[in-house]
């Protein structure tokens, strides 16, 4: 294998641990293929694990069917569990040998722990939680990511160091349809015999029971932000949600303030919701939040500030105190229900 064989490729880290629930690797492969075509090179995926020919009808074949031109495969019992130091070591070796131009990782928890360590070892730049990736006329990777608390987007480049690295939130890109006819090359690699010892011992890893994803599947979602005014006022959102068979979501500041639980966080770091109707009360619309509501069909926002980003992206923007409107809506709905009952 010559060094130039992989030089300049676009790589994706294959994070297949929760394949059926988390499609971020496949989503990244779709964009990696576009970027590779733009650069006149190949899209490669790194697949590490144990007995992968038995998983999901062969992960190498699956990766190719979803857009990979090349699969760098290490299949070894020592890779049965995700271990960060081992994976850092493997990626750093492969990157040093094949010299990819771009390396993308899904912003899973593992990806977000792995990526910065790889970037540090390779002394290259890394942009967290990108919303978009594209090439400029010189073939540099433009990485768009939320900035300054999410009211702004920053376009970031890594001008000199390679690979250009980014983590990307699940849902930022669309996966390609499964194409069983696609052909790709599998580069079968051995596990190096001089891997360093893991400094952290894994005592146990217990797969958690599937959580009922009420927020993700709710047809009505009532989201509240700091503009609700207080914890007690925030509670009224539950009354409104109950009247419409909906679920309550919250923004980061509300979770920090203890008005709502961690599990109700809607946005980039929390739940992605796709309701038919989304109510947004007292939310300014930082991108970390709005990234989680992109697929809402009808957005009704309430805020005193008509210029808030949330109000701009709403179908209906009600300029008023969020708590007052919440109370008025509850009253209106109850009136309507009584009228129906008659």
């Amino acid at each position: 294998m010559t060094e130039s064989h992989g030089k300049g490729e676009v790589w994706v880290f294959g994070d297949y641990r929760n394949y059926f629930r988390n499609r971020v690797t496949l989503q990244l492969l779709a964009r990696a293929r576009d970027l590779a075509q733009g650069l006149g090179t190949k899209a490669g995926v790194l697949v590490f694990g144990s007995r992968m020919d038995e998983q999901v009808g062969d992960l190498a074949v699956e990766s190719v069917a979803h857009g990979a031109d090349k699969v760098y495969l290490i299949d070894n019992p020592a890779l049965a569990n995700y271990r960060v130091e081992t994976y850092v070591n493997l990626i750093v070796r492969l990157a040093a040998e094949y010299r990819p131009a771009i390396l993308l990782l899904g912003a899973t928890r593992f990806g977000r722990e792995l990526a910065p360590r790889v970037a540090k070892r390779l002394r290259t730049g890394l942009t967290a939680d990108c919303l978009d990736l594209r090439l400029d006329e010189k073939g540099q990777l433009i990485q768009s990511a939320p900035a300054f608390g999410g009211n702004l987007v920053a376009d970031i480049i890594t001008p000199e160091d390679r690979p250009q690295m980014a983590t990307v939130r699940p849902g930022a890109f669309q996966e390609l349809p499964h194409d069983a006819q696609r052909r790709g090359e599998v580069v079968l690699l051995d596990l190096p015999d001089d891997l360093p010892r893991e400094r952290v011992r894994l005592i146990s890893a217990v797969r958690q029971p599937h959580r009922v994803e009420k927020l993700e599947t709710a047809r009505v979602v009532v989201c509240g932000g700091r503009g609700m005014g207080s914890k007690n006022k925030f509670k009224k959102l539950h009354d409104l949600a109950r009247l419409m068979g909906g679920e309550v979501g919250a923004t980061r500041p509300v979770v920090y303030a203890g008005w709502a639980g961690d599990e109700t966080l809607v946005g980039q770091a929390g739940r992605q919701v796709k309701p038919q109707v989304l109510f947004s009360f007292g939310i300014s619309g930082a991108i970390q939040h709005t990234a989680g509501i992109q697929e809402a069909e009808l957005i009704i926002a309430v805020n005193k500030n008509p210029e808030a980003p949330m109000m701009k992206m709403a179908d209906v923007a009600i300029v008023a105190d969020a708590h007052q409107v919440c109370l008025a809506l509850i009253k209106e709905i109850k009136t309507r229900l009584k009228a129906r009952a008659v």
Binding site: L126, Q276, K312, A320
Partner: protein, 279 residues
């Protein structure tokens, strides 16, 4: 235990006023505060100190006013504070930040047992500095830690074992390491305490705070600040999508009725969905 906590001053964004004309945030009005996740990390350190003894060193890189959050940390129970401040440290990405913090840790607390960081900052949310710090210090590293337990040393007089748990991608993991190590603390794990009023006055007159500039730190000028950063910001722009939807203003009751007038067809199907007359 020798504990180091890295903390960051961030703008209190949620408190910021918006500009009536532009709709943007008035950043110049930004009050600084201790990054919320750093507060959780400090709380974890305070609990470890209370249970197992030792001392806490807090370190922050930032402009001179970042001293405020270090004073606050002293008031909360930290023992020493180190401010890393120098114009040449400005514009650092996580690569340069982790280098600079590691440099300071090696200078003031080379014999640390644990370095604790918040899992991310509220202003940039990269979650990268902690893991990169583990690489730079070449020690064990674990991100998103929810519980920390100190087990008795296996050998008499030896270092204790640190047992950790965390949730990652649908797995509950239990991990162990022998110090030294770098942990980033998940926001759910350690609810921060409030400043004891009696601690504030001594903290503001405390001499246990030192300032280090790049020279005193002995940092390589090529590895700090913008010079040491691999990434460049090309441009920054508002993330606003303007849908030009319907705007309702005036009396609240009238607005709500207008809402049903205009969108009743899309709302009525849900009205009363989860409602029972007992409510």
């Amino acid at each position: 235990m020798n504990l180091v906590v890295c903390i960051k001053q961030v703008p209190a964004v949620a408190e910021l006023e918006w500009d009536q004309r532009t709709g943007g945030l008035k950043r110049d009005l930004a009050q600084g505060m201790m990054n919320p996740a750093c507060r959780n990390a400090l709380e974890a350190a305070l609990q470890l100190k209370a249970d197992h003894g030792g001392a806490i060193t807090v370190i922050s890189m930032g402009p001179p006013q970042a001293e405020e959050i270090l004073r606050e940390a002293l008031a909360l129970g930290a023992d020493w504070a180190v401010l890393l401040s120098d114009p040449t440290m400005a514009g650092a990405d996580t690569l340069a930040t982790s280098y600079t913090l590691a440099k300071a840790i090696k200078l003031v607390r080379r014999d640390f047992d644990l370095v604790l960081c918040g899992c991310y900052s509220s202003d940039s949310e990269t979650a990268q500095v902690g893991p990169q710090l583990a690489e730079e210090l070449m020690v064990a590293g674990v991100a998103y830690v929810e519980t920390i337990e100190v087990l008795a040393p296996k050998i008499k007089g030896g270092r204790p074992t640190i047992r950790l748990s965390r949730q990652t991608d649908n797995f509950l993991e239990t991990l162990e390491l022998e110090p030294p190590g770098v942990l980033t603390v998940a926001s759910s794990g350690f609810a921060p305490r409030h400043v004891d009023l009696s601690g504030i006055q001594p903290a503001f007159s405390s001499r246990d705070l030192i300032h280090l500039d790049a020279k005193k730190l002995g940092a390589n000028p090529k590895l700090i600040g913008q010079n040491g950063s691999a990434t460049r910001i090309l441009k920054v722009y508002p993330s606003v999508i303007d849908k030009e939807g319907v705007v309702l203003k005036g009396a609240v009751k009238a607005s709500v009725q207008d809402l049903f007038q205009l969108f009743g067809a899309r709302l009525n199907g849900f009205v009363g969905q989860g409602y029972s007359p007992d409510d």
